[in-house]
Symmetry: C5
Subunit: 160 residues, 5 copies
């Protein structure tokens, strides 16, 4: 087949004056720490100075905590970060589905963009790679930070 | 088994005076560009002169941006364009499901028809083919543009 | 194992005075035409005289058009007719799921019964058979028409 | 592995004064009749005297009819009874999913407990067994009747 | 691949003054009893003195009973405990999906955090292990109790 350029590129994003929340799970801490650091780094590179972080136990708790943050006030975007890895029961499948539907729903209902930063991996190796912790890995947190700024700009533009 | 004519045919569609939004992801840019161009071409062929395009990072962001556009005002239809290709994690499955449910929901709740222009492919070759970029390919964007005009006419007819 | 009588039987249904909408997709036209004719025939056999048909491009558009029809006014039941056949991408799966959930939801929220007349087939042969277009086939449209009359009667009975 | 006692046991349940609705599909009539009789028997054994039965064509219609019954008035619980058996198309999967989500949703939104009495079987033998129609079978309708009484008591307790 | 520390750790959690509900199913009683005891133990260790327990038949009934409890009044968190084990029909899959979506939805809509304490196991051995009833098992109820306290604190913090 034909080859095409994969991945995503961003234009200039200016996050000056934005307030962004990061809600993350604690499960698989090494992965999470790297992803949160990546998101924070790209938020700061875009000029975001107000970043609030909330920590919960597992990914299932993320939509609730994200909603609580939104109701507390005045966020321009929320980044939801978790890392689910397939285990021997069906826990992975039902959590992944409930959380992805929950975050989608929260964004549509609250009017605040909620970035889906949940890794849904079949192996630990996949998670490490997507957290930038392997030789050829890329930290997806970087992209989520930039996406949050971009979505916040769409939110502001359309509300004016 | 018996053979039957596949595919879909449209009658005359008149898009004069309609205002249509296109919300598209940037991931897999070559595919997206072709699909957006195809949609725009068929919109223009139907007489649509007001076309607004909004670009987001990934397909998960599309329903939020589509809703923001709808709230900004007065759109007759929105075309949601993305291209998801199966990778090694389960990201594809959960994004596809959340986005398809999100777009369905947005159409039902907002009263503005939202065309599902999300390719959910297992290979890159499938995506190229559906963007009209292979020898025997067909650009699905063409159909989405025509469908948007048709649905906008249903919206207007039923609101009178 | 023990054998039991399969299928479904209806008692007498009286559709006099009912107003029924048929919303159908155009994809796989030969199948659709047979199903719509079957539904119309059984509606008429039950005494229904007011039948409005709306045509859309694909099955994803059906819930939106059904809702538009319901809002326009005073329908006792809507029959949603489409024919989805498994292809090489995952399009089939995500459309089937979004449409089935959309129709379920529309019925519950609108208060107007919405009959699920969507074939979700793995082969064309299966679709032809369920449209009554093969030797041993049965036109499911017949059942959907009768079910629509029955559900309209439940709607009326419970609203008095 | 260790062995543990499976199944479910109920304490004393008192259904005196309760009003319970049974909404059932007609498909696979022999199975359904046994399940409905089982539910009715356990309701009566618990002292329930007001039992209203509504019959619909297929399981997809159950949530709508259950909602209509709830709106008509004053039910303490609804038992939803259907029997879906896997066939050659994907009809089974999409109906099962839409109906289970529909019944869950109806219970949460209406405030009236809706018992999930839908068999989702891969073979006819499995359905016969769960309707108590095989030598070693158990009629699940018995359990649904008892569960309905118990849930009605929870509803009443929490509303006082 | 690289190794990373799995599991989850909690900081200090102070449950003094909190009111927590436990809603649990009765199916697979030995498992459930262990999980409920584990949750209760960690709640008490965190200083929670007001714990209300509600028992229902199966996991499908849990979201309804949890909502009834929330409406009765003033809970800071609800722990939903059930144990589903894969059987020969598709009952497991549809119950798991409806319950996980139901609990997610209830948390988002009610404003009260609902902990997902539903085991979704393919074998009995997996359930025994996650209830701490095997040699190398860990009682997941412990984690759910701690998570409930933590989420209640997030709820309170964001409401002030």
């Amino acid at each position: 087949g034909k080859v095409f350029k994969k991945g995503v590129s961003f234009g200039d994003t200016d996050g000056t004056g934005l307030k962004v929340g990061i809600v993350h799970a604690r499960w698989n801490k090494e992965i999470i720490d790297a992803l949160v650091a990546g998101a924070r780094k790209s938020l700061e590179a875009a000029g975001v100075r107000m970043i609030q972080t909330v920590e919960v136990s597992g990914s299932f708790e993320i939509p609730y905590a994200a909603k609580a943050l939104i109701e507390k006030g005045d966020y321009d975007a929320i980044i939801c970060i978790g890392c689910l890895i397939k285990g021997s029961t069906m826990h992975f499948e039902y959590i992944c589905e409930a959380v992805s539907q929950g975050i989608m729903r929260l964004g549509l209902e609250s009017g605040v963009p909620c970035i889906f930063g949940i890794l849904t991996c079949l192996t630990e190796e996949q998670a490490l790679e997507r957290a930038g912790l392997t030789a050829n890995g890329h930290n997806h947190g970087d992209d989520w930070g930039t996406a949050a700024v971009e979505m916040a700009m769409i939110k502001k533009a359309n509300r004016l």
